[in-house]
Amino acid sequence: MAKALHTHPQAREGDDNSIGSLVDAHGLLTPEAERDAAVSDDQLRELYRMMVICRRLDQEGLNLQRQGELGLWGPYVGHEAAQVGAALAMESTDWIFPYYRDFAMAVCRGIDPGNILTIFRGLTHGAWNPYEYRFAPFIIPVGTQVPHAVGFAVGCKFDHEQTAVLVGFGEGATSTGDWHEAMNFAGVFQAPVVFLCENNQWAISVPVEEQIAGRIVDRAAGYGFPGVRVDGTDVLTVYAVVRAAAQHARQGHGPVLVESVAYRLQAHTTSDDPTRYRTDADLDPWKGSDKDPIERCAERLRQRNAYDDTFAVAVAQEAEERASAMRQTLVAARPPHPESVFDLVFANPPASLMRERDEFTSSLEQGGAE
């Protein structure tokens, strides 16, 4: 009988977990691993800078929604370390497949945040070219983007590229069939995927203990590859662990699951009302500076003597400017001609669809003439 086709038998043991040993029982980078990671002061300052900018953009997104400029906003405050740490850990040649909350990852990839917001203003379904930023579109049906990343990564492997593919999702996604299938396929094909679970402990109103029995991180072993659970409020840990996981994937050792544990400090989206299912007291353990990704990063920088007021003020100033620029871009964005929706359905559209477009256009023109 033929052997399994795409596996390296030696890499199929879930207990081969050198990446797991990077962190201690609290999910924090061990002193040894921190030394080996050799993250420079400048790199840590960059992580800090992007987290401050992204938090300010998140606040601006919320403001814009409340002011009626956006139909919807999905806040990511509390996720800054996970998203910025993971996005900056990937090489520019790597790919990222985000879920809908991964706005900060998109910003880290250089996509203009004002353009991204045009999706939530109802102007477009697609605001960037994925090939330009190596950043796939936000996917709304929960968990369904996870196997896309696996397919793309299998392609990278077949093309003999040294490319890793990061896929983001929440803990709720780990209940979906697509997530389990994707984990299994990734294990079987030894696909170069980094699965990043942003466990914020809430899937809209459902708390993690009603979502999951056991630990998400432990599921990796069942699919034959390593998993590591990290403190998702410590950007240095996320950065170092995801970087190691991506390297592991790029070198052909197969996938890694990284479970980043933090807390969703805001509503699921602006359409949500968290007062119906949780209290302020629930948030208290996560509100202190010891759980704040930005404060923690500042503290690490202070310990390195790499943080001062000049730096902090400059970053804050830049964040203000970028929030303002995002607002201006959004408000200035003109809707495309409605007719354009017909042109984006197919690469090679059938004549019947073009006739529908022409009928639509002429009915618009007639309507305008009345």
Binding site: T144, V154, F346
Partner: protein
Amino acid sequence: MTGVTLGKALNLALHDALQSDSRVVMFGEDVGNLGGVFRVTDGLQEEFGRERVFNTPLAEATIAALALGMAMKGFRPVAEMQFDAFSYPSFQQVTSNIAKYHTRTGGAVNMQLVIRIPYGGNIGAIEQHSESPETYYAHTAGLKVVTPSTPADAYGLLLGAIKDPDPVIFLEPKARYWMRQDIDIPAPPLPLDRAQVVREGRDATLIAYGPTVQTALLAAEQGESEGVSLEVVDLRSLSPLDMDTLAASVRKTRRAVVVHEAPVFMGLGAEIVAQLMHDLFDVLEAPIERVGNATIPYPPSRFEKLFLPDADRILEAVDRTREY
């Protein structure tokens, strides 16, 4: 090539596509050294290797999603679903992601992929092996849906589907896998949006596709012996519909019967009838008839033939249009 079955014609098309384009890959359940449960991929893994033709785990949603990801990476995936009713776990990926991805990326990413699905009944099988899910797919914007009725069309349409830059649901009439025909290969790909008049006639048009085209031709033959001249149009493409070809035929015959295995209720015939009634209201001599299944789960195979279109039911429908 003489006596080529429809299944073999598909195999030859896959072979030629794999050979002429190194980016074509083929995967699904049991498509490796088994050659698929219908042997459509027979010998392909052996010839092209395990990175071109490969088995996947048994999970249809991710088979579809794998096609999406690989298409995005620049491959031209051909994914196989084992049976019609086994394609449903992939429905979310197909309708929510594959069909919408071109739009969702502002037109930057093409979903150049094919999902092959054997469909239809009349093989004495259990219910999940006999369904006709075409309307689900045809109703979804962003998908093209085609189905061949002969070995020659199977070859040409599959090549056309693989070359097309958009996602194509390729429905294979499994009851016709063993139908034989002499075909010329290699042959050029067929266009994906054209119906074909497969028999000329004067008195009424039979509109059929996939497995029912041969049934319609049989009915036309029988009709001729009874003095009724029937035209038969093979849709080939279920989305888009080639209404120009249909309208030209019905303009001539002034009567029509749509034939499919799927339930009549909300079936493809409903759309065809609506469009013909709208465009040819003044020309039609009678309401257009539909022949298809009742609104029931696929019946037990021992009496499936009572629910499948046959020549008698088709000719009865023709009579109704002539006696109106």
